[in-house]
Symmetry: C2
Subunit: 269 residues, 2 copies
Amino acid sequence: MAIDPANQTALIAVAHALADAARAPTLAHFRQSDLVSDNKDAGGFDPVTVADRNAEKAMRDVLAQMRPDDAILGEEFGATPGTTGLTWVLDPIDGTRGYISGTPTWGVLIAVGDADGPQLGIIDQPFIGERFVGGFGVAEVAGPMGMTDLRCRPARALADATVLTTFPEVGTTEEGRAFHAVAGQARLTRYGMDCYGYALLAAGQVDLVIEAGLNAYDIQAPIAVVAAAGGIVTDWHGGPAHHGGRALAAANAAIHAEAMAILSAQCDA
Amino acid sequence: MAIDPANQTALIAVAHALADAARAPTLAHFRQSDLVSDNKDAGGFDPVTVADRNAEKAMRDVLAQMRPDDAILGEEFGATPGTTGLTWVLDPIDGTRGYISGTPTWGVLIAVGDADGPQLGIIDQPFIGERFVGGFGVAEVAGPMGMTDLRCRPARALADATVLTTFPEVGTTEEGRAFHAVAGQARLTRYGMDCYGYALLAAGQVDLVIEAGLNAYDIQAPIAVVAAAGGIVTDWHGGPAHHGGRALAAANAAIHAEAMAILSAQCDA
């Protein structure tokens, strides 16, 4: 679906308004002793905080005012249908485990797009005060060092590359093995960055971010930000990643191909 | 060695002056495309940057002016003898791998102490603009959310605890196995925080930080900051950790004992 330039500008303004709205509710509980995490999944550990819910409510209030006819997919409150063909995809606190540990690697994820995937994304880190924006011709970060263009780094060999993921198990046993087949050839592997890893990829700091077990709301904003910075995000076999699952985010086509050859040889689609 | 209150106040001011001096040289190269990392150790990967060296030089210049008779131990330029019995221990960029990956988890580490160990420490994160200070009656952090007292969290069972370390291999095979024997009993294990993990422990956000293969300059500032916040840092058998090697940093005596029982059963001293 083509979106005309005036509408693009309006959508960018809405995305910023959403990030602004999430700022106070997310920071209100960050590093506070009253932070209590629920346990959504009895079998695992998926904390949800009051902050998470309040931030999504605040963003939904903004959309009700500014974009009442668009659809919404939010981590906390699910899907709300719309009539425009556009869907806002919201993850109020991506990286809740990082959040409850006090690390500054969680983020507010905001994307807007259509059935073909996200066209605009924001990764906002309210504690640092850093906002990565990509889409509709924009690719920039505003933060402690001012405003900078986002641009993924040029090609280098996997042997010289830095690879990020959030935790060393990655996903299933098979997925973990595939990840480590790539990471074992890289120069440096780092863990624990949550969505901030994709922001660092867009900022030209690392070469690959590889994850599995994602939800659509985890990856849509990163896809838009990385793509706007010249990078590529697909699943591990080159298909679209915006429905979630496995993501291979790469700084350029060369290292994307090199990593995908290894991942796809290790894992069936 | 007892240090009188007036001298303590002076030393705190010097420590802040050192952190201030390191700020510009470390940030000058952070996330810049000209960042080139040397390879100090032909067998491994230990990047050193121009920023690292410039920051230590800047701190040594401050000490030459303000504390010319104290000894210095710095990561980059080694040991400089003194006559006062006090030694400044400097790590201009702790977490150089995090630094070259663009993550905000590296820090400037500054400690001052005597033969018994560090008495005052600073963990400074110049990009976020966050400074953790502990010692001589001070335990505080100044950052994006203002000034807050540092206080380690109260005791909770290891089964409810959060454990941090920088990378999953931790150290030798034996050390890695010992770490994972603790982490396997914890609720949540997170990687990748470098020295920022100790800052989060002092800020009451996590329960344990466990590392191995440390140098004295990696751990002295964290020891002072954590101790000032009510926590405990020892080696894995309860001995002093300020010479480097293995560190067990705990929020309180109960979880320190619980973790140490596991670590010491897995590893000889």
